[in-house]
């Protein structure tokens, strides 16, 4: 960005090289360093092109000197460092003063009213002035002071408003005045420089040039305009600019989480950052200058990056059509996000969220009303098929994240529900919710299993062995967490892999997603939920994944009746230009049994191996992208008749871990009941209800304990058969 000019009407403003002090004494070198930094960072256009690199280097040297001052351990070192700082800062002055936009003022105490300063050409609604104000006559000396004062013109409400700027009472002040909210066209403004008890006033004129226009369209697969996620950056200040027709999604966030319409895509690489959801073509005014744009449509499309120039008074039309590097729909896989928080109480709410889902290309959103033992958030108009919002092959399905206890049992998620199942008088009896949701045809699982937050392992230890749990959220916030999930798989319990963004706490809808396999079936919400129920899923925030054991797909049980080998095939693939699989692993009982890696971009990695069916096992594929993205599928369960598919060698340890989790529940119930008996919980519904519901909860814990202990006996019973299988 090059400034056109700073036109100074000379008048009584004196400009003469001879008037500059020869060797100014810098009073605040640290502030001068900051002034130079701010100018370089925000307003380099004030400098001559040739001086920018020069000032950058001098500024870095001065920063190093300033750093030494701040780190000096004793007085002597500090004095020495300050001397260096003075020298380094002084070197900045000539470059700053050579700015073609420098306004030189000689302030004479007997002349408080200065002639007009002239016209300040601002690049847009922001700009800056660099002033060298020298006090002459009384107050004149050879000191030099640096001053940075920000001016916000949005606060000027009358024509006679004055901009006050404090400068040093004596000597020379080098003043940087960043200005924001400059109105379009011409603005006359009175500037007042306050030097101690004296004030000098001058009129100045700010001119903010005509803006340009940007007509922006994003085309979808069919060549028609589509919603998309757009990041538009004005290179002048490298700041993302709002898209003027962006979807106001934050209005549906119930004042929770990250309350912004620009959503931070939490992923690695150039594509990361803040994006607005652009619902369709936009025609918007933008400042003239260089622009960069990034356009995204979920992870199956290649992001588009472009840069262009918009000239004042001109219209630039841009149309982008992000191309797919993959179309998982054609392979029978359909994307979903199991954890989307947003209020839907009106058609407008529904339309906004649907647009957002389409922009991120997420086909099924489980839009969860959230509750705890006190209240609910993110209300919905209703639940069940009649309250689904369908637009083509995109569906919003109201679901629930409730019950949720934070210091007790963890958070649960239900999908495809017909009603909000919530009874705070039985809040800790998660099985009540699971049973009702299942009776209504829905699916139940746990949130945040990836991070293990909220002691989610406790309720998992109660209800997973009872077969009441369908899925676990193992990918969230770009983090794949496997420990807890693997524990239960290793114990011989089937749990489907799922993923959810948890917006508005998460960055953006679909930044992690769960793909469900529908095969040749047409996409419907019911078909997607059925695939989820079968466990035909993988989760990802980058690479794609296929996995097969003989003919079995993720979630399937492969019963092997004779001693034989099974064939294991895994494939991970990505976009070689951006997200490519750097590692593909076959995981058996949580152990990596086959690994292929690539240090160079490759479209795909494959594993094709044979494996003895042995005593049975769970087996899955895990892919890691070149930038740390993850994909992991639900296991295939290889079962030998008469045996569980568990990790037999660790049964005792696994049972011990589960019993420990159950013991923790018993302890928190005992603690709550003890405190309740003392009358300490009357103002704490969370713990009061834990005390009251404790006996019923402990019954369930006791049942679960029996199941786990029974598993030790099962292990003993399996021993002869396993010994037989182990013989060569």
């Amino acid at each position: 960005m090059h400034s056109k000019a700073l036109v100074i009407l000379v008048g009584l403003v004196l400009f003469s090289p001879a008037s500059a002090p020869a060797t100014p004494e810098l009073t605040n070198p640290d502030e001068l360093v900051r002034l130079a930094g701010r100018l370089l960072q925000e307003h380099p256009y004030l400098l001559k092109d040739a001086d920018r690199a020069k000032l950058d280097e001098l500024h870095r040297k001065a920063r190093q000197a300033l750093d030494r001052v701040n780190r000096a351990q004793d007085d002597a070192a500090k004095r020495q460092a300050k001397t260096r700082l003075l020298k380094a800062a002084a070197a900045l002055v000539p470059v700053l003063e050579s700015s073609p936009n420098l306004i030189r003022l000689d302030l004479q105490p007997d002349r408080p009213v200065l002639p007009p300063l002239g016209t300040i050409e601002c690049p847009s609604d922001i700009g800056a002035m660099l002033i060298r104000a020298r006090i002459t006559g009384s107050g004149a000396d050879d000191t030099l002071h640096a001053v940075v004062r920000h001016l916000d013109l949005s606060g000027m409400w009358t024509e006679s408003s004055t901009i006050p700027t404090d400068i040093a009472p004596s000597g020379t002040s080098l003043v940087l005045i960043p200005i924001t909210n400059v109105p379009k066209d011409r603005t006359s403004q009175r500037l007042e420089l306050r030097a101690g008890d004296r004030a000098y006033r001058a009129m100045l004129e700010l001119r903010s040039p005509p803006r340009g226009r940007l007509k922006l369209t994003v085309l979808g697969d069919t060549g028609t305009p589509t919603p998309a996620m757009v990041r538009l950056v004005w290179k002048f200040n490298n700041q993302p600019q709002p898209i003027t027709n962006a979807v106001d999604i934050k209005s549906q966030f119930d004042s929770q989480g990250s309350l912004t319409n620009s959503r931070n895509y939490v992923v690695q690489g150039r594509v990361a950052g803040e994006y607005y959801c652009m619902p369709g073509p936009v025609d918007m005014e933008v400042p003239a200058g260089e622009w960069e744009i990034a356009v995204r449509r979920g992870i199956e499309h290649v992001p588009v990056y472009d840069s262009f120039r918009v000239s004042a008074g001109e219209t630039v039309e841009k149309t982008y059509a992000p191309r797919r590097w993959e179309d998982m729909r054609k392979r029978g896989w359909w994307s979903g996000d199991d954890h989307v928080h947003a209020r839907i109480l009106s058609d407008d709410d529904a339309r906004r969220l649907m647009t957002y889902a389409q922009a991120e290309d997420v086909h099924l959103c489980n839009v969860v009303k959230m509750g705890d033992i006190y209240r609910t958030w993110f209300d919905q108009r209703g639940f069940g098929p009649e309250y689904r919002i369908v637009d083509g092959d995109y569906v919003l399905c109201p679901g629930q994240e409730c019950p949720r206890t934070h210091d007790q049992m963890g958070h649960t998620i239900s999908m495809n529900i017909k009603r909000m199942v919530r009874d705070t008088d039985q809040y800790y009896l998660y099985d009540k919710v699971f049973d009702q949701v299942h009776a209504d045809g829905g699916l139940c699982g746990y949130a945040h299993v990836s991070s293990g937050m909220f002691h989610v392992h406790r309720d998992m230890s109660v209800n997973v062995p009872k077969g009441k749990v369908d899925f676990a959220e193992v990918l969230q916030f770009a983090g794949l967490g496997l420990d807890i999930w693997y524990r239960f798989l290793n114990s011989g319990f089937k749990i489907t892999a799922s993923a959810g963004s948890d917006i508005p706490w998460g960055g953006t809808l679909g930044e992690v997603r769960v793909y469900a396999y529908l095969g040749d079936q047409p996409f419907t919400a019911d078909a997607w939920f059925e695939a989820m129920r079968k466990g035909r899923t993988f989760v990802t925030n980058g690479p794609m994944l296929e996995f097969q054991v003989d003919d079995a797909l993720p979630g399937d049980e492969l019963v092997v009746k004779t001693d034989r080998k099974v064939r294991v095939k895994a494939r991970a693939w990505g976009d070689p230009e951006r997200v490519w699989p750097a590692k593909l692993v076959v995981v058996q009982h949580g152990r990596e049994i086959q690994v292929v890696e690539s240090a160079e971009p490759k479209k795909e990695l494959t594993i094709d191996m044979e494996l003895d069916a042995g005593g049975g096992f769970w087996i899955a594929a895990h892919a890691v992208g070149n930038s740390g993205e993850h994909a992991h599928c639900t296991p295939v369960y290889v079962v030998r008749p008469g045996l569980r598919f568990w990790k037999y060698d660790e049964v005792d340890k696994l049972v011990g871990q589960a019993l420990d989790s159950l013991g923790q529940i018993e302890k928190i119930v005992a603690d709550a009941r003890e405190r309740d008996a003392k009358g300490e919980l009357e103002d704490d519904r969370t713990l009061k209800q834990l005390a009251l519901q404790g006996p019923a909860l402990l019954e369930r814990v006791a049942e679960a304990r029996s199941i786990w202990e029974e598993l030790r006996k099962v292990a003993e019973q399996e021993a002869p058969l396993r010994a037989k299988l182990a013989k060569p």
């Binding site: 750093d67 931070n264 992923v267 958030w377 770009a478 930038s627």
Partner: protein, 219 residues
């Protein structure tokens, strides 16, 4: 023990907020409410290595920091209060980051003043905000042959965190980030001992016609 420390830390945080008279809404979704996201971007050049750190504070951490900003206790954070906070926080965090080249510690120096984005609200309330920090180090001599850089972030060890690291070059350095040498804190719930990324400069600058190197990890 770490679980105990985590619980104590959280309880102390809550206690401090209540003691300070802050009325918190019922914790709607404590997941990640006390998290800080660290987004680190490193640009490797022939003379300088620039490091930009963006810290995104979730509700409880943001509230705690906003209270520190609100010097006059009027519930609003004015420009002067922001500036004072930024000057203080820049100094406080300076030693929280370390950069090493071939095992030798490099001086990380503040390049620009820290920036604060209070997002939608200037008030002292449990919302989110973003703090941006800018540092640089001098590139130590010619970077020929494989050169190993290590960046470490030890800021806010008591806060659960998500950590992201990106290294790139616009001067032709071919970079590789080694995830195996990096910590794996994403989604962690416990105090972190720090985050580390290792960057290997595979090739020195090559002719300008070749695309600039770029590598990213999520340690």
């Amino acid at each position: 023990m770490r679980e105990f420390e985590r619980v104590v830390t959280r309880k102390l945080l809550f206690a401090a907020l209540f003691a300070a008279g802050i009325v918190l809404p019922a914790p709607a979704h404590p997941v990640y409410m006390d998290h800080i996201e660290h987004h680190v971007k490193m640009e490797v050049g022939p003379t300088n290595i620039d490091v930009t750190i963006e810290l995104r504070f979730n509700e409880l951490r943001s509230l705690s920091e906003r209270r520190r900003m609100d010097a006059d206790r009027d519930g609003l954070i004015g420009p002067a209060e922001q500036e004072r906070y930024l000057r203080r926080i820049g100094r406080e965090l300076r030693d929280g980051f370390q950069l090493r080249c071939r095992g030798e510690k490099l001086d990380l120096v503040e390049l620009y003043e820290p920036r604060l984005d209070l997002l939608d609200g200037q008030g002292v309330s449990p919302t989110h905000h973003v703090l941006r920090l800018y540092y640089f180090a001098r590139t130590p001599g010619p970077l020929t042959g494989p050169v190993r850089l290590e960046f470490e972030d030890r800021t806010w060890p008591s806060a659960p965190s998500l950590w992201f690291f990106r290294a790139y070059s616009e001067d032709g350095f071919n970079l590789r980030v080694d995830p195996s040498a990096s910590s794996q804190p994403a989604g962690e719930t416990e105090p972190s001992p720090g985050h580390r990324a290792t960057i290997t400069i595979v090739h020195p600058p090559v002719p300008a016609t070749r695309p600039a190197g770029s590598a990213e990890i999520q340690p």
